[in-house]
Every structure is written in structure tokens, then in C-alpha cells.
């Protein structure tokens, strides 16, 4: 029973991982250790959710993937390239990795449309007309076609985060990283952002999502990684992790969430 719950579709199909964290460690300049020998894989088309208490290193882990944080030990492989190698071209790797931040980080001095078009224009040297066409298409996709001309400050938090997703998609990345994309939102706006993410997942986008939204992890993730104190506690399919957590620390984490928010999502 446990075994069938624990099978990983992508791994079984023999595909090479798109992102492989191979025993990575990370410490901040002040010496505080945030990751210790963390390993997990993300296969093409998979949605991997990172769960765990605040300060467990989830955000640091995905920030290492696009090299916003330097890995101090271990290997981090993206599309077969070891991005921890000295001679790696960080800029070229980042062009293929989309990132969505907790606080949106839209550029406040640009219109919403320009926010979405600016990546292709500056980084990929696309013609402006082409980039703006793509930006309009993506704004429509996240349900904000009528907001292209306004400044980000005129949008709600949920709308801003949808623009931020469109902005990352404009680079046509091979993987999208989400760093607690709904944590800064008022509760009534969480749904609209998760709906966009769910749609992306259904279209086959490879996603790594740091989240506290257990229902999203349960229903959308293909693989769940539970972390604590910078270490991997356990990993598995959402069904297995949520229904039969093996580790005491996973159960304790879920227990705390239950105290805070009521029930855990099931089935």
C-alpha cells in the first residue's frame, strides 16, 4: 500500500531531472547555517512543493537554484549543467528559470505591460512589438488584459502577483520557482493566485513551490518535500506525505498547522 502511494510518475518514466539538488549546503555571511546537505530532484513537468516551518530553509533552497544565494557545498544541476561550477554563466541559466517572489517585486516605475515585456526586451533582445504582443497575451492568460496601462501600485496584491507570474512566464522559462507566492496576500486574494498556478501546472509547467497552502500542495503537487532546520525530513507523493507521514517531525509540523488553521486537507 505504502509503496504504490510512494511511486513517482516522473522518476518511473526514467526522465532526467530538470533540477537536481545534490547534497547542497548553504550558510549566510554571518555564519548562520541555513541548508545542510539537502538533496531532491525536480523532473520535467513536475510540481514539487516544499513544506516546512518558517526558517526551515525552503526559500533559501529555491533561491540557490537561480543563484541568488551561493551554494557553499554540494552540487546543483540544472538541465545537466552544474551551476555551482566556477565558470557557469549565471545570466544564461537565469534566463531559463522563472522566479516569483513573496512580495511580487514588480518594477514600480513601469506600467504593468512593460513589467511583463521588459525581460524579453532587455535580456533576450526581442523586438519591442513582439515582446509587447507576448506581454498582452500573458496578461490575458492571468486575467488582467485591461490592466496593461496602469502602474503596479494601482493593483491589488493578488493582481500584482498575477502580473509577477506573467512577467516570469514572458521569459518562457523551463522551470518556475515560487517563493511563498501567497504569503503576503490578504486571504480573499489567495485563491486567484493559486488558480493561475494550478492552470500552469495543468499545462505541464515544471514548478517548484515554497508554500504554506496545504490544500494546494495536496491537490496540485506531484511530489512533496518536507524540510526542517535546513534539512530534508522526508519526501514523497502528497497522498503518502499527508496520509501516512513517516517522520515524527512531519507529524509535529502538520499538528501545529492543524492547531492554527483547523483541519488538514484530505483527499
Amino acid at each position: 500500500m505504502t509503496d504504490s502511494l510512494d511511486t513517482r510518475k516522473m522518476a518511473m518514466s526514467g526522465a532526467e531531472p530538470l533540477v537536481l539538488l545534490d547534497g547542497i549546503s548553504h550558510a549566510y555571511p554571518n555564519g548562520k547555517v541555513s541548508l545542510t546537505e539537502l538533496s531532491f530532484a525536480v523532473h520535467p513537468g513536475e510540481v514539487v512543493c516544499l513544506l516546512g516551518p518558517s526558517g526551515s530553509g525552503k526559500s533559501t533552497a529555491i533561491r540557490c537554484v537561480n543563484m541568488l544565494e551561493p551554494v557553499t557545498a554540494g552540487r546543483l544541476v540544472f538541465e545537466g549543467i552544474d551551476v555551482t561550477a566556477k565558470d557557469v554563466n549565471q545570466v544564461e541559466v537565469r534566463k531559463r528559470v522563472g522566479m516569483v517572489f513573496q512580495n511580487f517585486e514588480l518594477f514600480p516605475h513601469m506600467s504593468v505591460l512593460k513589467n511583463v515585456a521588459i525581460g524579453p526586451i532587455v535580456s533576450l533582445k526581442r523586438p519591442k512589438a513582439e515582446a509587447y504582443d507576448l506581454a498582452r497575451e500573458l496578461l490575458a492568460k492571468v486575467g488582467l488584459s485591461d490592466k496593461g496601462d496602469v502602474l503596479p501600485s494601482q493593483l491589488s496584491g493578488g493582481q500584482q502577483q498575477r502580473v509577477a507570474i506573467a512577467r516570469a512566464l514572458a521569459m518562457q522559462p523551463d522551470v518556475m520557482l515560487f517563493d511563498e507566492p501567497t504569503s503576503a496576500l490578504d486571504p480573499e486574494m489567495v485563491g486567484e493566485v493559486l488558480a493561475v498556478m494550478r492552470k500552469l501546472a495543468e499545462e505541464g509547467m515544471t514548478m517548484v513551490v515554497v508554500t504554506h497552502e496545504m490544500r494546494f500542495a495536496r491537490n496540485v503537487a506531484d511530489w512533496v518535500v518536507v524540510m526542517e532546520d535546513g534539512r530534508l525530513v522526508e519526501e514523497g507523493t502528497p497522498e503518502r506525505i499527508f496520509e501516512q507521514p513517516r517522520m515524527e517531525r512531519t507529524r509535529a509540523f502538520f499538528g501545529k498547522l492543524e492547531e492554527q488553521d483547523g483541519v488538514l486537507p484530505t483527499g
Binding site: N66, E105, H109, L151, A168, M171
Partner: protein, 224 residues
């Protein structure tokens, strides 16, 4: 001097303006040229002061502190008298003025720019990097423009100060408003009239600059 108690000579006041206007051209040219040079140099110094390399930071900081901690009048005299003695290079008074004021203003601006750049959240830069921009592109497209609007009020103050401080070039015989005005006063003894005309000239040119800067800030200030 005692004869000059008989009120205000309106004719002398009126006829001061034509020569002063010639001086005004010099004052404006000095201000504009110094600013055009000081903005890029100031940005460069600010970036050097934010550099990761300690030595680069220390050199840039030392340079800025020397210019910030000495009076601009002394800087003017130093470039005028000491620089030729040390290097053998003699500059025209106009070039002396440009060099000394550019050194002074770019040092002050670099502090303003540094504070402006540091006030932009690091996550903004990270968002730009995440879109595949190079560090230089991130600065030019994302961080720089936001910092620019944030420091605009301080920049406008520096601009208006520079415009007024250029009066000091009269001490090295550059024919600006002050030089021409003070010459005129010596020649005509119309102290009251000439100095009042000078004051009006500076006010007429300086006030719109200050107001323009205020307007720019209201119009383009970044709202988050």
C-alpha cells in the same frame, strides 16, 4: 561715498541688466556643464563606494571626503594656483572653474546617489537578475531609474546651490553675473542699484529652477 545718500538711481539700475545678462549666460553655461559632468561622475563614484572590493571602496571614499570636507573657494584657488605649480598644466580660468566645481559637486552627488541606490530594496535587483538581466542591465533598467526619482529633491537642491555658488568664480576672473556685477559697481559706484540688479538676476534664474524641480518630483515621484 557720502554723495550716494540721494536715493535709488533707476536709470543706473535699468542699464545694469544688459551687461549682467552676458554674465548670466556664463553662469548658466557653467552650471549646466558642471552638472552634465558631475552626474555621470557622481554615479560612478557612488557605484565605486558600493563596490564589493575594500580597496576600491576606500579610494573612492577618500576622494569624496577630501572634496566634501574642504571649502569650494579653496578648491577653486587650489586648482588655479597649486595644480599648475605641481603638474605644470595651466588651465584657463573657465576650465579651472569647471574642474573645481565638478570635483566638488560630483562628490556631493555621489553621496546622494549612494543613499538613493541603497534605498532601493535588494529584492528589486534580484527580480531583475531573475529575468536574466546582467548586473549592469539591472542597474540601468530597474535600480537606477527608481533611485533617480527618489533623490530628485536632493538633486534639485544641489543644482540650485551650484547655480548660486558659481558666483565664486568671479574671484578667478571668469565673467559670470557676479564678476560683471562687481566690476560694474567699481566702475560706476552705483552699489545699491547694481547689487539689487544682481540679486534680481539670480532670483529670476534660480526661482524657476527650484520650482521646476518641485514639479518634477510631484509629477514623476515613484509611488509604491
Amino acid at each position: 561715498m557720502i554723495a550716494r545718500t540721494v536715493g535709488f538711481e533707476w536709470d543706473a539700475f535699468g542699464s545694469s541688466f544688459a551687461p549682467l545678462l552676458e554674465g548670466a549666460v556664463m553662469t548658466v553655461v557653467l552650471t549646466v556643464v558642471v552638472m552634465l559632468l558631475s552626474v555621470p561622475i557622481g554615479v560612478g563614484l557612488a557605484l565605486l563606494r558600493l563596490s564589493r572590493h575594500k580597496v576600491v571602496r576606500a579610494i573612492a571614499t577618500g576622494w569624496v571626503e577630501v572634496w566634501r570636507a574642504t571649502p569650494v573657494l579653496l578648491q577653486l584657488f587650489w586648482v588655479f594656483y597649486v595644480l599648475p605649480a605641481l603638474t605644470g598644466i595651466t588651465l584657463s580660468p573657465f576650465l579651472v572653474a569647471i574642474v573645481a566645481f565638478t570635483g566638488h559637486v560630483s562628490a556631493f552627488l555621489s553621496e546622494t546617489f549612494r543613499a538613493g541606490i541603497a534605498s532601493i530594496r535588494p529584492q528589486q535587483r534580484q527580480a531583475a537578475l531573475s529575468l536574466g538581466m546582467t548586473p549592469a542591465q539591472s542597474f540601468i533598467v530597474v535600480v537606477g531609474p527608481q533611485a533617480w526619482w527618489r533623490i530628485l529633491p536632493a538633486f534639485a537642491n544641489t543644482w540650485v546651490s551650484l547655480f548660486k555658488d558659481t558666483a565664486l568664480v568671479s574671484t578667478i576672473a571668469v565673467a559670470d553675473i557676479s564678476y560683471i556685477g562687481l566690476q560694474l559697481r567699481q566702475e560706476t559706484f552705483m552699489t545699491l542699484e547694481v547689487l539689487t540688479a544682481m540679486a534680481l538676476m539670480y532670483l529670476a534664474l534660480g526661482y524657476p529652477q527650484a520650482k521646476l524641480a518641485d514639479w518634477l518630483e510631484r509629477r514623476f515621484g515613484v509611488k509604491e
